[in-house]
């Protein structure tokens, strides 16, 4: 397939923040895996919503209420189309991916006492499986679930190159596995995981599959039907949308049988002092007034990347990754933590610089206007695995240029000069 022309200079014009200066020099923003910048279209849409249409959704019968509801529900349609969901009713708005994953973990443990949810029950003797490269948001909720239910918490380990130990997939996932929750693209290593192999094994043993797509949905096409998972989550603010909105997608028949997580307005069918019945998905999982402006903003962000084309975005970022890996190879003392080749990896590259602490590297880059992240990236077990306190991480997006990667490499040379 021939990708449409990708014009990074034109794209950059849509992002007002990219023209600001930091410490007197132009900003080089290489921290998109942490949060992306937002195009003017998203900012305008949210401003318009509050200026012209603001009202609560699904309650008010007045004109503004109806406009707000239409805009909010249109955002749900956009999300459904973006991930190729069979039905819009499978798209639940959450606060972020952490809430998406916690929602599932709590709903699953609520199944222990919830009538009709027997098939979701997890208890002693059962196990839940994650990977060693999970973000804490896809790790801690499952440790907590294991604690609540008495189930065993397991993980698929990673190898020296930052990839999953493949044989462990079949070994760790067994007949007593109830849930396999894993990351599509690692935020700390950039690794893109073999979804098909993990899903095949999980399906063979009857386990539910949950995919953390926070770092993949902004960067490559994500098709829930092709991926074959049961649930998938991502967050808006890494996808050029605002903070405060995330998504949980799940197969309808599962969502319809799953106990609620939070109780409140909007998630009910009828409420009586003797008991309550619950709304059908997605509203069953959306208690309370939702993040209306943020969902609308996310919808516009999806329009924005869809117009560019996710295939083109992936091609652009794959080229940046290959360029950066090659450029990094010329930096003495730089060690990539994670896959050092462009196959099955995303445009997020963690590294260490010999003799210089990651916090010093990132602080000194910041003094040159270059924004990268340093730390354990909320995936501390990854650092423990490689025996390092932290890494420096450069991550790219649709607006990243090869000139910015050159600036990073030159910046690193200056840092080394100072510490030399």
């Amino acid at each position: 397939m021939v990708a449409p022309a990708f014009d990074v200079a034109e794209i950059r014009k849509d992002f007002p923040i990219l023209s600001r200066q930091v410490h007197g020099v132009p900003l080089v923003y290489l921290d998109s895996a942490n949060t992306s910048q937002k195009p003017r279209q998203v900012l305008d849409a949210m401003q318009d919503y509050y200026s012209l249409h603001n009202a609560n959704v699904a309650r008010a019968v007045h004109t503004l209420g109806s406009e707000a509801t239409t805009l909010f529900e249109a955002a749900r349609d956009k999300v459904a189309a973006f991930i190729n969901a069979p039905s819009r009713d499978e798209v639940i708005f959450t606060k972020n991916i952490s809430e998406s994953l916690n929602l599932l973990a709590y709903s699953l443990s609520n199944a222990t006492t919830f009538p009709g949810a027997e098939k979701f029950r997890i208890g002693p003797g059962d196990n839940v499986v994650v990977t060693e490269m999970e973000h804490h948001s896809n790790l801690v909720p499952w440790q907590l679930l294991a604690q609540r239910t008495g189930a065993e918490f397991r993980y698929i380990p990673i190898d020296e190159d930052g990839r999953l130990v493949l044989e462990a997939i079949e070994e760790r996932i067994d007949e007593r596995t109830k849930v396999v929750s894993f990351v599509h693209q690692s935020n700390a290593l950039g690794t893109v995981n073999p979804v098909a192999r993990i899903v095949a094994r999980a399906k063979a043993v009857g386990a539910l599959t949950i995919l953390d797509a926070a770092q993949s949905a902004p960067h490559r096409p994500v098709d829930v039907q092709a991926l074959g998972v049961d649930f998938l989550g991502f967050t808006g603010h890494k996808l050029y949308g605002p903070t405060g909105v995330g998504v949980l997608w799940g197969r309808y028949e599962l969502l319809a049988a799953l106990p609620p997580f939070m109780g409140g307005g909007e998630m009910i069918e009828t409420v009586d002092m003797s008991g309550t019945t619950y709304a059908a998905p997605p509203h069953r999982f959306e208690a309370g007034t939702p993040m209306i402006a943020e969902a609308i903003g996310l919808g516009v962000a999806i329009d924005y990347v869809t117009a560019i084309g996710m295939d083109s975005i992936q091609a652009h970022e794959d080229a940046l990754t290959a360029y950066a890996l090659q450029a990094f190879a010329s930096v003495p003392g730089l060690k990539v933590i994670g896959p050092n080749s462009p196959e099955d990896r995303g445009a997020t590259i963690s590294f260490t610089v010999k003799g210089i602490h990651p916090h010093d590297v990132s602080q000194l880059l910041d003094e040159q206007g270059i924004a990268v992240r340093a730390g354990h990236h909320c995936a501390r077990p990854v650092c423990v695995r490689y025996g390092i306190p932290a890494t420096t991480r450069a991550s790219f997006g649709i607006y990243t240029t090869t000139a910015e990667i050159d600036a990073l490499v030159a910046g690193l040379a200056r840092v080394q000069e100072m510490f030399g």
Binding site: G375, V415, M418
Partner: protein
């Protein structure tokens, strides 16, 4: 790279990082403490020996960012051979400077007393790094307190303790 005036990394800091002072374990010692900065993973293990109301000897080993290691080195130079009271006063002054969010105004006397430690003034503008600069100072404070307590209680030597710095600043 030429250092701009507002760089956090003043030459004094880099010099101490490259040539740390009082680095190493001392024997004998009155107290040993181990402090960590959980957000960055900086660590310092510090020993002191007190004599005649002074910090007679101080030695430390550690790893972490340049700010944490250089600050511990600068602190060591400043307090060794000083009366305990003066060392703790300096610690208070340095803590104040670090909590000033870049607005600290030192009197001439204070600046003179803090000497090389003044170079860390720029760190106070970065809340995420303040704990790095304080690590060694906090370790010195607790080591001195432990050594003084031990001396007061029984005159024993070799007391040790481990503290996370998290709650202290």
């Amino acid at each position: 790279m030429s250092l701009s005036m507002d760089s956090m990394y003043q030459q004094i800091i880099l010099d101490h990082y490259k040539h740390p002072q009082h680095r190493g374990a001392i024997e004998p010692f009155d107290a040993e403490v181990h402090h960590v900065n959980p957000t960055c993973g900086d660590e310092v293990t510090l020993r002191v020996r007190l004599a005649d109301g002074e910090i007679a000897e101080l030695g430390w080993v550690g790893e972490g960012c340049s700010i944490s290691q250089a600050s511990t080195s600068v602190m060591s130079d400043l307090v060794v051979g000083k009366p305990i009271e003066n060392a703790l006063e300096l610690q208070e002054k340095f803590l104040e400077l670090m909590q000033s969010q870049g607005q600290g105004e030192l009197t001439e006397d204070e600046a003179e007393a803090l000497d090389d430690a003044v170079a860390f003034e720029g760190v106070s503008k970065y809340p995420a790094r303040v704990k790095c600069a304080l690590l060694g100072w906090m370790a010195m404070k607790s080591a001195v307190a432990e050594a003084s307590n031990a001396a007061g209680a029984s005159g024993n030597t070799g007391a040790s303790g481990t503290t996370e710095q998290g709650a202290q600043s």
